[in-house]
Amino acid sequence: MKRILPVFFIFFVFVVGGGWSAHSDERPRYYFYNTETNINNFASLKMEFDIYLSNHGSYLLQPFDLRENFEAVIHEKKGDVYLLSSWHLKELQQKRVPLEIALVGTSKGNTTQRKVLSAKKDIVNFAMLKNTVVAAAGSEEYVHSILKQILGKGQETLLKDIKILIVPKDIDAVMAVGFGMATAAISAESGLDKLAMMSPNQFKELHSLGFSEKDYLLIAATLKKTDQQETQLLDVLRKMSETDAGVANLKMLGIDGWRAVQ
């Protein structure tokens, strides 16, 4: 009996604490989870955003490190905005989650990007990637799916023999090839542009082995029937590119503005 009491007590504290937490702060939120980046520093992201958002209303950013948790929130909540990758959105739509695109992130005027599989010039075909390491930023699942797309059909066996190394950023992935930590890298085209600027010699050593299909940058999605709260939230997002502070925050998400899509 003595053992059961503390267990009950802990359980009670969790249930009450969790319930209180869920009900205590009803402020509208932007829920964020991105399969394409591997941000380890959510604290900084949340703090920066919350400071910015507090000047534009009573809103909060809630980043997630686990996909399951993020998706659980979508299933439950209504009237909030979800920031996620286009790939992730498509996956959810296939599972009949009623989400639709409200805004698309832009970077230097573009709303879409391709992922590139690049390697040193002595790697001339996909087959040479067998038993090697491919570096990429993003969730393991996402990277796997993009790699599968780039390699094309009939390469399932090869895919099994490639080790994926998840790194925080695109630039890490492409530099990993230059410094010998990986044989190839998957990055956005902009990742290669950065390498060209920072380390032209390394850039010259690389070539592209394949490309993914074009896809949107980060997406702000809402549930199909938008209400007024969501419209306000989207409005705040859209105006972020108008101030320096807003742009600085957007850059932490890898974009510099938002655009509505038809």
Binding site: N40, N41, K163, V167, P168, F179, G180, M181
Partner: protein, 311 residues
Amino acid sequence: MKIINFCKALILLVAFLGSAGFAQSNKVLIVNSEKAVYRYETIATEFKKVLQQNAYQWAEFNLDSHANVEAELKQFIEQENPALIYCIGTQAYSLVHNVAPNKKMLFSAAINWRRLDVGAGTYGVANELSSAQELSLLRHFFPTIKTIGLLYNDSFSREYVETIKKDALASGINIINKPIDDTQEIIGALNELLPKIDMFWIISDPVVLSNKESVQQIFQAAQQQKKPVYAYSDVYIEQGAVLSISADIATIGRQSAGLAMMANQDKVPGGTVQSPAGSMVTLNKCALDALKLKFNQDALDSVNKIVGCEQ
């Protein structure tokens, strides 16, 4: 001698050896120098995640939870018979190197791995980012910086500093380095060094960075002489560093796991030591503005985190 006795001896010896068979295992033994140290433990956690995904078995041995470490570790290795031993931290590496020199070994989180005796059966992920990578990023952020100074201890960092100097030369940066043996020498060395340099570089040297006071001394001296400080870790941003490019700890764990699996299958040459593949760039805009330091605006999108004065 009687030939019959010799034959008896030989038969016994052959029977003795014949009874010995061969066996292979896929188990990895993780030896952690000190479980309470955040960096070691984070690396271990990420490492285990990847092993789990790939259905590898592992066992763990934490050096700080054993009294007679050497003997107990030796026994544990014999008991677990791992295919590879993953050593987190220099202490773990040194010990395993002595206790089981014939085992395949992988290390990480060891400061300046070049000072270790790395043999054919040893693999590693360095603790420091490749200095060539750091320098190219540094040059990208601060194109006008020409001379960088650093303090180090010869026993811990000599080889690393030599590599930095070589890589710096290639990227057109001049490094002025000054060895110290004790933290008491920091002030004198800085007074001599700071007037000659454009930027001070804090490297992960355990003698220079012995305690909080030595860290404060560095930043106070740099501030007095209005010299920017660049650091290997973002923990120094709060102290006033303008920029930090740090190796991402979690990536080191994942990268080690990948290397461990490849090494176990002999798909990577022995003696391979990789630089960490993940980096984290933090910019202190507040310190930058205070020093009126020229900064390449195009490089901003390579920054993971920008810290302003309000924080």
